[in-house]
Amino acid sequence: MYIVGECLNGMFKRVRQAIEERDKSVIHELARSQVAAGANALDLNVGPSIGDPVTNMTWLAETAREATDAPLWIDSPRWSVQKEVIPRLSGPKGINSTKADESALDKYLPLAVENGAALVGLTIDQKGVPADAEKRVELGVQIMGKAMEAGLSSELLFIDPIILPVNVAPAQPANVLKALAQLVVFSDPPPRLVIGLSNLSQNCTHRNLINRIFLVMAQSAGLSAAILDPLDEELMNALITAEILLGKAIYCDGFLEAYRMRSQPGKS
């Protein structure tokens, strides 16, 4: 499981304050602790921070880079941010994200390929979030096709079949699971499939419980990457246990400890 740490997000008050006040220590600490807890990469999102998004994201990315060599995913819907930050950021990086329609892919794919960056492709097009599994699969396949044409290596492409909050869209979790199961058999090796786990439980109660149950359901359906909170120990334990049960790692009595030994920055 490729773990992308979600904690460096300006929607968290502490992170927003750090960005606005340019407090490096908070960013360094969150970068290190997430990697130590098993994150393979870090998602960076300036959220609702005051100030110019390009400047803020540049600062956030460069500051995170001071603390770790792990891949940094620039999480912004703005092309202006991606096109400025991605080429200038040293070390491994990812673009989070592009939509599936051709005009978007025609911009984002060259940016990814030219900069050796990973790219997250959302199965959303101009018409919005798909209602069913089939449309998600169709858009996922579309992204994969265009990525291959553009020369993006399959290791650098992540398909995100878009999870919505369960209180708002109760049928969607099941559709996402169906889409994962269909996408994962689409090619050999299978495409890398990612979700932003916390979206599922936004504004719900028992958020951690909802997140970790869906995570293992999604792992079982073929999820190979997730943007989540690696500092949530129960979530990580569930993830690790599911990997054992899916035969991805060999059991031993210290299996929780063993998994944490293998997590190293930048490694999948």
Binding site: A249, I250, G254, A258, M261, R262
Partner: protein, 322 residues
């Protein structure tokens, strides 16, 4: 028509591990051996580097080998009563290492104490320049009593000491850390326990890269396939990135092969099976070469013929991999 490239890309490789230390490194060995490094399944060179040559260790005992099968006693004669002489013979035969088993310390085979065991280690270190494997008698309490002194006697020589087990590992790990030795970790044909022993050693400060895995060995006809399947699963997991299964593997072939009736029985007991003098060496050789296919990095052998044949097989396999 183009055929699909079936080569697998492995995320990881078997650890490199060195046994022995020359004068420049603080020891007195004339050479060291380095094993491991494979970045492919055994010998599948088109997938990646096949790694270092597997090595052959000659098994010698500090005492008590008078019950060894006749064919082996015929080979070594009086040298079997003197580990120093026996070690020199091993060097002459072209072994890459000596594997000294301190069976004389076994409560039922002499019950020698720590001082005698350490003296045996010293005498072997003085007699040969080959790197050394030192194994206890297999009884936990006794091993804990004798191995620390042996580690101390061999300080600086970077030996491979064994064995640690799930229920008994602290003493030998501590002594190996103090005196700079590699450690052989034993598990009873159980890959889950193999990982767990490594975790336990790691938890008390022993580096994973300094461990060698001993999954227990079975001779041809006596469980070889099961050990093969464990070694295969372990190797695949290690190549896939599991840091607890990336260690090189040791196979204790001589001891197991010579227990077989095919190796030991007289021609009267097994009519039609061929000359007794050939069966033992053959059983040992075939067991050894088959373990090379399973990914064995260190073969512990007894008979000169097995040593020679195993070395030839290694050269052939390694040479073909270029």
């Amino acid at each position: 028509m183009e055929s699909t490239d079936t080569a697998q890309k492995w995320a990881s490789a078997v650890n490199h591990l060195t046994i022995g230390a020359t004068a420049a490194q603080g020891g007195t060995r004339t050479k060291t051996v380095t094993v491991g490094g494979a970045k492919c399944v055994p010998w599948l060179a088109y997938e990646g580097d096949v790694g270092c040559r597997p090595v052959v260790a000659l098994e010698i005992w500090d005492s008590g080998a008078d019950n060894w099968p006749q064919e082996l006693r015929a080979q070594y004669g009086g040298a079997m009563n003197d580990p120093a002489a026996w070690a020199r013979k091993g060097e002459e035969l072209g072994a890459d290492l000596i594997c000294l088993k301190l069976m004389g310390t076994h409560p039922e085979m002499g019950n020698r104490g720590a001082d005698e065991a350490a003296a045996a280690v010293r005498s072997v270190l003085a007699a040969t320049g080959l790197p050394l494997i030192v194994l206890g008698c297999g009884i936990d309490e006794k091993d804990n009593e004798i191995l620390p002194k042996c580690c101390e006697a061999a300080r600086g020589e970077n030996c491979l000491f064994g064995m640690i087990r799930q229920k008994n590992y602290r003493t030998l790990v501590a002594a190996s850390l103090a005196d700079g030795h590699k450690v052989l970790a034993e598990s009873p044909l159980d890959i889950n326990i193999a990982k767990q022993v490594n975790i336990l050693a790691h938890d008390i400060g022993y580096p994973l890269e300094n461990l060698v895995i001993f999954p227990t060995t079975a001779a041809m006809g006596y469980g070889f396939e099961y050990v093969y399947s464990i070694m295969e699963r372990g190797r695949l997991a290690g190549l896939g990135g599991d840091p607890l299964l990336r260690q090189p593997v040791l196979c204790d072939v001589g001891f197991e092969a010579w227990r077989a009736k095919e190796a030991q029985a007289s021609e009267a007991e097994l009519p039609g099976y061929g000359p007794a003098s050939e069966r033992g060496p053959l059983w040992e050789t075939i067991t050894a070469t088959n373990y090379l296919q399973a990914g064995a990095d260190i073969l512990v052998l007894r008979h000169p013929v097995a040593v020679a044949q195993a070395k030839e097989a290694i050269e052939t396999l390694h040479g073909a991999a270029k």
